[in-house]
Amino acid sequence: MNELHGNWFDGVHSRSAPAKLRWSSVGVVVITDEGLQTGADLNMLKISSPLPDTPTRITFGEKESFVTGDETGVERLRESLALNPGLAGRIERHMPVVLAAAALVVAMLAGLAFRGVPALAARLAVTVPEEISAQVSGVLMSQLDDFLEASGIAPERREELERYFLSHGEVATIEFREAGIFGANAVTLGATMIAFSDELVELAESDEELLAVYFHELGHARLRHVEQNVFRASAWLVMLTVLTGDIGAVGEMLVGLPLSVGLAANTREFEREADAYAVDRLLEADLSPMHLATILQKLEAYHLRRRDQENSTDDGENGQTPDAGGEEDSISYSPLDYLSSHPPTEERVAYARSRMNEFE
């Protein structure tokens, strides 16, 4: 039967009139329960596109509309008007197709986030001019300087190290600082600046170890890891904003969490790349990859010592907590390690060792 039941609105008054809509091959007529009749040509009808379990609105010209919840009836009307429900409408109707679409969405998002964005970031990072990188590193250094002191290492020694480093690979600026609470460390700030802490210089037992660190940092600089990070973070942020546009403030904060996990994963991947670069350069300079391994081990032992000192001064009452030596190893396997920025030292040392066969 070519008939729909619904409500009729005249578009002028907020009155709802229960009515029937009947159609033939040429026209439609709406008859309200009160007996009022309105007719129109079939080609004047506009039917809202189908949505699951949502009433359909059928309009005639400017004002009048007829609203019905009779989905199968509307389907017949669509057929006689040769209207198709649209791709979205067709997919929504079939749950298996919807689930396939969901799987596709997940796959595409994962592909975009884990492959697309990193590839794009790598490509963009190399296009950043050195002057801009230098500007960024300058800003970063001045921010860090709020927490750092001028280097206490004799200027002659610093110059000697700088000459030694630069003879093995160029970088625009090498800085030395006393790092205080940060302790022994070295950082790359963009493509043009590498900074060493006094504590690291003192910790190293040979200049070759320092050179190994320098090569690692040079790897970060040459591979544009800082710039890649900036591009990845902003691309992910754009992705998340587009995806979650409707979720609202709470949702935005939630999606920030995976973003920071992703960035931490980034840095671990970059650390591995920088280690590989450092080993390559050490081998090139006829130096043993073990220099990298030994300084990494020293750094780990140094930071564990510092942490233990802090802990024992922190909780004087809980001093009885055993700090058995055996526990030190397990620290690097705590579940949150996934969040930490560097791969476990053991893994990095093993990597350097595995490449010993290339040295001889």
Binding site: H13, S49, E62, E64, V98, A102, L243, V250, L254, L257
Partner: protein, 361 residues
């Protein structure tokens, strides 16, 4: 003070006693239907690099409006996706201009920032007009008559004063914005009025402020309690690093309390504003309770646990709760009319919502 006693309507038959009925809002949507719409929206938005998102928005709003019933009839969302797409393109252009201006020079960055700030009231009014004139019930469209010039006070001057006074004037800014909105909405030709007062907004402000302080305090307390529980149970030897446990508990308690405070604010806000609105002698009533916080909190937890896939059910659950607490104390819902003027202007504002400001009904 704005006169709240003004019936604001000329369309009501004032012949004798008006009969008062209570009409309950009802939301008929369900999670699995919205899931279908949502996933298709996502798929097409990704495939079209975001362009489809305008269509996606229309489908989403049509579903939510079309499943909200008042006095036997559903609401309707009538916007054209093209208008929304145009608006979004303008919004993206403005944001791009802002971010690139910063690279050219600091001065250019500031100039663009100030320009955008000056444009905010324009965007707000556009958005209010667009959203309201594309919302309808019983074939009659809503509308918004607020003037762009008048919008500068509630949407620029007062928020700035709010910032300068370290938030003390902020509830007053909210009051101004709320009055600007609800004294300028109309249904057909009938304007709505609101009788909100500054006191109500200051009440919310202080409530939320103290809730936030309490939440911060509780976070520290819970964190310490969890740590000492773990220690007492001797679990600290199983879990190698106490720092990681501490980080996890701190992050999750912070998240829980943050969500609670935001939800509390929303509940108080809805309760305040949706008990003060009148349109043509009909009054909106709202009885949202603290239960709302539980709805939002459990939604959030489930969204996290399902990596986002619970979102459609969460959105439906929230709508169902909100509307199950909304009523209209109605005198006459049949006598609203559309002005002649409306047929022309309501065919769709040419510029859609430039920024999706999320304000409206």
């Amino acid at each position: 003070m704005i006169d709240s006693e003004n019936p604001g309507s000329s369309t009501i038959d004032s012949s004798g006693e008006q009969q008062l009925t209570t009409e309950q809002f009802e939301f008929h949507g369900n999670g699995s239907d919205y899931f279908r719409i949502w996933i298709v929206n996502l798929l097409f938005s990704i495939l079209t690099l975001g362009i489809y998102s305008a269509w996606a928005k229309v489908r989403t709003k049509r579903y939510f409006y079309g499943n909200t019933e008042l006095a036997g009839d559903r609401f309707e969302y009538l916007a054209s996706p093209i208008a929304i797409l145009k608006g979004r393109l303008i919004g993206v252009a403005a944001l791009l201009a802002y971010s690139f201006a910063g690279y050219i020079s600091i001065a250019a960055g500031w100039i663009t920032f100030v320009l955008l700030l000056l444009l905010i009231p324009v965007f707000v009014v556009q958005s209010l007009r667009f959203n309201s004139s594309n919302s309808a019930w019983r074939g009659v469209r809503f509308g918004f008559d607020g003037d762009i010039v008048e919008a500068y006070q509630p949407y620029l001057v007062w928020p700035i004063v709010g910032v300068i006074t370290l938030g003390l004037a902020y509830p007053y800014a909210l009051l101004q914005a709320n009055r600007f909105q609800f004294n300028n909405y109309r249904f057909g030709t009938t304007n709505s009025t609101t009788s909100v007062t500054a006191g109500g907004f200051y009440g919310i402000g202080f409530g939320v402020f103290f809730a936030a302080i309490l939440a911060g305090f509780l976070t520290v307390l819970v964190d310490n309690a969890v740590l000492s529980l773990i220690e007492m149970a001797g679990l600290d030897e199983l879990a190698e690093s106490p720092e990681s446990i501490s980080l996890i508990t701190t992050l999750s308690t912070l998240l829980v309390f943050y969500v609670c405070v935001v939800a509390l604010y929303q509940a108080l806000y809805y309760r305040l504003i949706f008990n003060r609105i009148e349109i043509g002698g009909n009054r909106v009533q709202n009885s949202i309770s603290i239960e709302y916080v539980l709805v939002i909190l459990s939604n959030t937890v489930l969204i996290i646990l399902t990596l986002g896939f619970y979102y459609p059910w969460a959105a439906v659950r929230r709508a169902r709760y909100v509307f199950s607490n909304m009523r209209l104390e109605a005198t006459d819902l049949d006598s609203f009319t559309v002005g002649e003027f409306d047929h022309i202007s309501a065919q769709g504002e040419e510029v859609g919502e430039a920024f999706d400001l999320g304000i409206g009904f």
